[in-house]
Amino acid sequence: MSLRVCRNVTVLEVSPVGQRKRPDEFFEIRLSLPDWDRWKPGQFVMVRPVSWELDMLWARPFSISSVDADGLTLFIQKVGRGTARMARLAPGDQVTLWGPLGNSFAVEPDTPTLLLAGGIGIAPFRGYVERHPHPENLRLFLAHRLPLECYPYDLLSAQVDSRCLLEAQPCDLDLIIAAMRELIAEYAARDGLILACGPTPFLRTVQTFAAETGARAQVSLENRMACGVGACLGCVAPDAEGHHVQVCTRGPIFWADTIQL
């Protein structure tokens, strides 16, 4: 039954996103298909360029952003040494890839569903929107720090009702939090579904408002990972009872009330 594989795949394309303002800070990477095609939005892959040899031992986890007949697309923000080196990959380079890994976002076709993306957290929602049977039930909210053109926002806003807020100065954060509170309350009232992906403080905000309003919310965690398969216990988070659970296999997606952030 296992669909997970580890393969060397080929880089097809590395294209900067929003390069005008932030050269190379965000990029999309297209990889040749490993021999799996069943995957669910919210799942991720572990990726390690073969050229890394012995330095930087760990692969890096990335949400599957989209898969089509030609390949697998990841959407990546350069935040450190590994992603910087990945931005320099060229077509033809080999990367070791394993997956699809982890669980996936709940899909309730007829439920009003709110997608809350914090920055690069928008990555998995591309696949979610593409695969959703009733995208008209979806709404996207993006809180972003960098110019909008850096994110695949246009792609999504063409398909679903979307809204975004820029955090340019500290006071913007209050606006964003207020907007999130309002949205979460609205979806709680409609017995909707809330899915969130972004940095930990962003997820904490979601968790807090969901708890306050009783909203059903899922959060996707981005803990540092070494193995991605549940073995190293390096990625754990405490669940509601304080037991350490692996984010890579028991997550990365958790119901907001089952995990401590």
Partner: protein, 305 residues
């Protein structure tokens, strides 16, 4: 080339084992290869009672290596014996239990429980628990404690071979090796991780919540080879080499200095199928470099006079 090895009461179809804590129970890696291709699987550390392990963050990447302070998170020996062991292919691959405790009595008790299990091929003793009474120096850094713990485990190990895993964080590894052999160990395995640390200059905090952590991976291979070389010369019991192995060539380096088998740890994170092909690659490389057999190659390092 025949890769079968027998030593210290263990019989393995090839000399490649996976190292404790880096390969889960083994089952996590089943999607990526046939567990039966491995010479052995050392399960992750097991304690008598369940342990939640250390707070997060627990891991950090370092140049050609990594730090970890997992803190032996595990569900306890009862869960292991009832739920994990039965689902492992223990008839076809040697399953070694890795025992963690903080005193000799506890080690003995743990050994007693595991020795009763048909599915366990050997017991590996992890003496890295910090000895709080002695200022944080671990049991494994004190030869007298190593001998005491080894004796306690051997007494309760029944017919299971006992493998004592040595720490490299000592002044003289030969003394520790002899202490374990004198305590009755059938096999030595080494090295466990080097004590290390990493800090974040922006947050002005340690990168690992536990502050101190264990360094593993290719970075430590030269230290591991040196320790294995010294241990092999210090005792007559067989030795299993561990530390930084990330290729067939690395594995053969440990065999060359005299190890009977190797354990692969951090390299399992390079790619989850890493360990499965290693024995075949070692066989091919042995042939390529003109070794007539694994036995002939083992320990054939020529030292200057």
């Amino acid at each position: 080339m025949d890769m079968h090895v027998s030593f210290g009461g263990l019989s393995l179809k090839n000399p490649v084992m996976t190292a404790s804590g880096t390969f889960g129970s083994g089952l996590e890696f089943a999607p990526y290869g046939d567990l039966k291709r491995l010479g052995g699987i050392v399960a992750k550390g097991i304690s008598l009672a369940p342990r939640e392990g250390n707070p997060m963050p627990r891991i950090a990447e370092t140049p050609c290596g990594m730090l970890n302070a997992i803190g032996i998170q595990n569900l306890g020996v009862e869960d292991f014996v009832k739920r994990t062991l039965p689902s492992l292919p223990w008839r076809d691959v040697a399953i070694v239990a890795n025992l963690y405790a903080c005193d000799a009595a506890e080690f003995g008790e743990l050994a007693g429980v595991l020795a009763a299990e048909e599915g366990i091929a050997a017991l590996e003793v992890n003496v890295s628990c910090p000895n709080v009474r002695e200022g944080g120096i671990a049991f494994g850094q004190d030869p007298a404690q190593i001998a005491r713990v080894t004796e306690a485990v051997c007494k309760r190990a029944g017919n299971k071979p006992v493998m004592v895993k040595l720490s490299p964080n000592v002044t003289d590894i030969a003394v520790c090796a002899r202490a374990a052999a004198d305590g009755g160990a059938h096999i030595l395995s080494l090295i466990n991780t080097l004590s290390g640390m990493a800090v974040d200059i922006r947050k002005r905090q340690p990168r690992i919540a536990n502050v101190l952590a264990g360094l593993s991976g290719p970075a430590i291979k030269p230290v591991a080879l040196r320790c294995v070389h010294q241990a092999v010369r210090a005792v007559s019991i067989p030795v299993v080499g561990i530390g930084g192995i990330a290729s067939a060539e690395d594995a053969l380096e440990f065999i060359l200095v005299g190890a009977h088998a190797v354990q692969v740890g951090t390299a399992n994170f390079l790619r989850p199928d890493f360990a499965f092909g290693l024995a075949d690659q070692m066989a091919a490389l042995l042939a390529e470099i003109g070794a007539s057999s694994l036995d002939e190659f083992r320990g054939s390092l020529r030292l200057p006079l």
